[in-house]
Subunit: 153 residues, 2 copies
DNA sequence: TATGAAATCGACCGCCC
DNA sequence: GGGCGGTCGATTTCATA
């Protein structure tokens, strides 16, 4: 990936609806070669997809909760059950297996505290958990889907 | 927002490039009224924007780190300096002010551990921090930008 | 082999019903 | 909410360096 590809990515990460003409102008190319570059970025999987980002407040899920938890037991079966259960809960939008003192970290979006409690109950109903601790986001200071392009080869 | 709007949102959250015709068919509408609904969703800010999502591995930032930190001092000036510094670091893609024992939670993407150390150093060079603890994601089990639509009015 | 110009094709967006 | 038609941008072909 050369400089032009990275410029294209920078623009598309900000706004996937950027007209091809504008994209082409930004990288000093005419639309055809620029278009082919964009195609290649999709085909090679660098760009995974193109999505609409919604406002959590407008969808009535203004509260973000980070949940740290420790597994009830450390077996493959437990993990599978846990992942299956957590993936099926739409309020849980991110799941990470972590190093260190907590086993998993979840990012959860809910309307309010009561909404979080429902998710919590649904989770402990599905699997045994040794420890669950939740932290509420008071304020979102930054939230972007743009990945840094400084490290790409 | 009625059921059709939510169906449209569900599809656009998965794929913002969905052709209007397909969208219209999914909600049993002809393209014009469907298009008008989509416009309204943008204008009303329910849909904030449309972005390209990239593969972190392809961009050489396969490592996700969650950083919990406590402020060096609790003043408005400190917070402003911190937010300004952290926002300017492209590897820091999310910043939350938290309740509870940690003051802030950061989501950071880097190529490797050494890359994280650079971000860490850059951060402590900018502001005084009382406590910093980092957790590395070993595995991403779920990561979506789709918000749950169950709570929307 | 990669680019650019031009023609085609389809989606989008205004009109009116 | 639906249907029509113009306009615009996206995609393909072809010529070129």
């Amino acid at each position: 990936m050369d400089k032009k590809d990275l410029q294209i990515l920078a623009l598309l990460q900000k706004n996937a609806a950027t007209p091809l003409a504008e994209l082409a102008q930004a990288v000093n190319l005419s639309s055809t070669p620029c278009w082919r570059r964009v195609q290649k970025l999709y085909e090679s999987g660098v760009i995974q997809k193109q999505v609409a980002l919604c406002d959590p407040r407008k969808l009535n899920v203004p509260v973000t909760v980070f949940v740290s938890l420790r597994a009830g037991e450390h077996s493959d079966a437990w993990m599978k059950r846990f992942v299956r259960a957590a993936r099926d809960i739409p309020e849980i939008i991110e799941i990470y297996r972590m190093s260190g003192d907590v086993d998993y970290l979840l990012k959860v979006v809910v309307p309010d505290i009561a909404g979080y409690d429902k998710v919590y109950k649904r989770l402990i109903a599905a699997v045994d958990l040794q420890d669950v601790s939740s932290g509420f986001a008071m304020e979102v200071l930054k939230a972007t889907t743009e990945l840094p392009l400084d490290y790409a080869d």
